[in-house]
Amino acid sequence: MSQVKLPVELPEDLLVSCMRCGFCLPACPTYREKEVESASPRGRIALIRAVMDERLAILDIAEKLDACLGCRACEPACPAGVHYGAILEQGRAAVTAARPNPWPMRFAYHYLLGSPLGIKLAGWGLWLYQRLGLRRLARALGLVERIGGKGLADMERAVPKAASPWRRASLRRLTPAVGERRLRIGFFRGCVSDIVFFETNRNAIEVLSRLGCEVDLPPGQGCCGAVHGHAGEHDLAVAQAKRNIAAFEQGGYDYIVNTAGGCGAALKEYGHLLAGDPAWAERAKRFATACRDFSELVDQLGPLPMGAMPGTYTYQDSCHLRNVQKVSQPPRNLLKAIPGAEFVELPESDRCCGAAGTYAITQALLSDQILDRKSGQVRSTGASTLVVANPPCQLEMIEGMERAGLADRVQVKHIADVLAEALRRTT
């Protein structure tokens, strides 16, 4: 029996509170695909508990925890209010302690996503890679696939062109409110968002300022730490949280806003993450309660002036926006308000698309299986635009539309991009 213990004390009540009623099973995408109990939330909680009780070794269950999307659709389905996300992260931290992540991942977590400078460098790196013909060379040599497997290679193909470093640097620190200032906003840029979806952030800032928000981009902010936490790099996740809290807490902001459902969920959970640290618990709680998703705030401040944008729109929930942040109506309200647009519900829009942070890279096969089901459902809506609220979902769905041969019929857009476009059409 391995002596590996869960690195951070997991309140045992958290595990015992699972009644094993199985109400989470129908909500779980991996249980549906794999059809075995160990691919269900109830199964994974039982496994982690068995490790705590020293009935199983951590490496016995590693592969089972790897297969979890972490979409947390099980949480709203749970009658006992079990905090599955916290249990999973602790389980993964224990796995990582016993079986470190592969070196390309570790490198990315520590150096690229581990600091603001790293993010800047990653932005440069990706831009150069895409511009200097390295991309073609790497594809020809199958290099990406060799380093990160099929999942990374698929993702690499879906990644849009990164904004140039000078374009990124051109973003002003402070964007004044249009008209009377109603709120002062601290804007959280994110890491992947800031590099790959730079225009989305710009668009979000434009929309917010139009609604009377003064938008500030405080320096010193970095990655939210979600990717670290999901990968079992608990200490790195905590380090990101502390850095961000410190970067924002002196800004006098009414709200802290971001455009990524997954990042936003991590930000809103800083209170839980740092609850055991007396020096940070209060600060983390204050930070978390100030966080809002972009769509949440726009819906609250609206109505946003919008010009006609005819077309059929559908919306794929971001799992963490829906299940953790509990934001599901605001994006729908906003889309339904676009003049000339028809909104169609996507069947099972509350189910994960398979992106799940780095899942599409680490668990490529199962991720594709989930994605293909999703793409078929998108096809059934007849929509011309699929709207998302989280960058990884956007990458995944772009790949999905390509795999399903829908790339020329369905555009995948972030809600901030859609709203900014509608706003510009008001003349």
């Binding site: 015992v16 009644m19 094993r20 129908p26 109990e37 039982a46 496994l47 269950i61």
Partner: protein, 470 residues
């Protein structure tokens, strides 16, 4: 441990992907929804067809290996926990709805079909499958039949066994047989179909079920009534029935449950009420309206201090939320929730609720009661902590006394959860020594080697009846 050669034979039947042997996989089939019961199987098999099930049973029989049939593992009597290891035979991959026969009003399904999936499929055709156990979004129809699951509509529509018309099953030695059919009248020999209902996987393995369907009722009306004392609520129940109105749902919550729900979800429930009745009637629109109006009058006449009626689906959902919130609210209170199902004749609801309250106080345990007032099926629910041995002992004593009280009123130890392992020490209290002998003889006829769900229903030793009632 299973001999490697036998393991290979079994693996060849279902294919290696569906023959699970890793420690992690075995652990995830070691439990059900019953708190405190957990044992590791030696092997988990997930067959896809009746033929595979038959072959598995032939091998298991030849090698005398115990086989524990399991659906989604939502049972509350430890019925699917593998007591002595052996095989867990999980049928949740057999998920085909084979036929919906609109002329004979039947549905033929594989045992792994999720209960609510059948509801959706038949309701899309204007048909109705009434049994709606609390776990219907997870539970399988095979499990429902094996446990004779009930639900909120038992009073008017009965329980699972009232809908099973035909079955295909595999015997302990691996032969396939069929019983029953789509005939409304059929007296050809003993009723093996009904015998398999509630047999908890101890007599045969159910591989296909034909269920009776009804036309979907045209309308539904809902009312929620609050009472200052238990007796007026009980009188209301009796009087509704005495006036020849059979509501489709007649649910009850005691004061403890009301307070728990309100504390958790703040939906404006009267926390001073001693009892809430949630009443629903379905049927043709006009009859629905007439019945619910009369029911509201009866509630008021018997002393309800508040009666709320829903006029649209949103309002109906708001009223139903009170009852739906019961388990979530109670489950959040303490780490372990033990949900029991002692049942009494309808007329004994008030004295039974009073008894439960007295017993909970006597043993100093936290028990709230809600349940199906219309059919006398109560759910005394105990909030405790499975890590506290001393408290658990008191909980066990309290429940033994609750079963005793229910039996004293002509009730039963389990209304819809089954005997399994957890109630087996009490079965003899209900059925007596002759009943046990007859049941064991039936078991012997079906399963002479005792390999089907061993250790269930029949206890090694019955519990002594320590409680002397005055």
């Amino acid at each position: 441990m299973i001999d490697p050669a036998v393991l290979q034979q079994l693996s060849a039947i279902v294919g290696p992907d569906w023959c699970l042997t890793s420690p992690a996989d075995l652990l995830t089939y070691s439990y059900s929804a019953t708190p405190r019961y957990q044992r590791l199987p030696d092997l988990v098999l997930l067959p896809r067809t009746t033929a595979e099930v038959a072959e598995i049973m032939q091998v298991a029989h030849a090698n005398r290996i115990g086989v524990h049939t399991r659906g989604s593992g939502t049972n509350l009597s430890a019925g699917t926990v593998p007591v002595d290891g052996g095989i867990v035979l999980a049928l949740h991959r057999m998920t085909s709805i084979k036929e919906i026969d609109q002329e004979n009003l039947t549905a033929t399904v594989e045992p792994g079909v999720i209960t609510s999936k059948l509801h959706q499929a038949v309701e899309a055709l204007g048909l109705f499958y009434p049994p709606d156990p609390g776990s219907m979004n997870t539970s399988t129809l095979g499990g429902n039949m094996a446990e004779t699951s009930g639900g909120l509509r038992g009073l008017k529509y009965g329980v699972t066994k009232d809908y099973v018309m035909a079955v295909e099953a595999v015997t302990a030695d691996g032969r396939i047989f069929r019983a029953g059919g789509k005939n409304m009248k059929d007296v050809a020999g003993y009723d093996l179909v009904k015998l398999l209902c509630g047999s908890e996987g101890t007599l045969a393995i159910i591989t296909e079920i034909t269920l009776k369907l009804l036309p979907l009722p045209e309308a539904k009306r809902t009312a929620l009534a609050a009472f200052a004392d238990m007796d007026s609520a009980a009188r209301t129940v009796s009087r509704i029935i005495a006036e020849k109105i059979i509501p489709c749902t007649l649910e009850f919550m005691d004061n403890g449950t009301i307070r728990a729900v309100e504390a958790f979800s703040q939906i404006g429930l009267p926390v001073d009420a001693e009892a809430l009745l949630l009443i629903q009637q379905d049927g043709p629109q006009m009859i629905c309206e007439r019945d619910i109006a009369r029911i509201a009058e009866i509630c008021t006449a018997e002393g309800a201090f508040s009666v709320k009626m829903a006029t649209d689906p949103t309002e109906e959902a708001a009223l139903m939320a009170a009852r739906r919130g019961a388990i979530p609210a109670l489950a959040r209170r303490r780490p372990t929730t033990i949900l029991e199902d002692a049942t009494v004749p309808r007329s004994k609801i008030a004295p039974m609720v009073a008894e439960i309250r007295r017993i909970a106080a006597k043993y100093n345990v936290d028990i709230c009661t809600f349940g199906h007032a219309g059919d006398g099926n109560l759910h005394p629910t105990c909030m405790t902590d499975e890590r506290d041995g001393e408290e658990l002992h008191r909980v066990e004593e309290a429940f033994a006394e609750i079963y005793e009280a229910a039996l004293g009123m002509g009730g039963t130890i389990t209304g819809e959860h089954g005997v399994g392992e957890s109630k087996s020490p009490y079965l003899e209290w209900k059925v007596g020594p002759v009943g046990i002998d007859l049941m064991k003889a039936i078991k012997q006829a079906f399963d002479p080697l005792g390999i089907l769900n061993p250790g269930k229903i029949f206890a090694k030793e019955s519990r002594k009846r320590v409680v002397v009632r005055s």
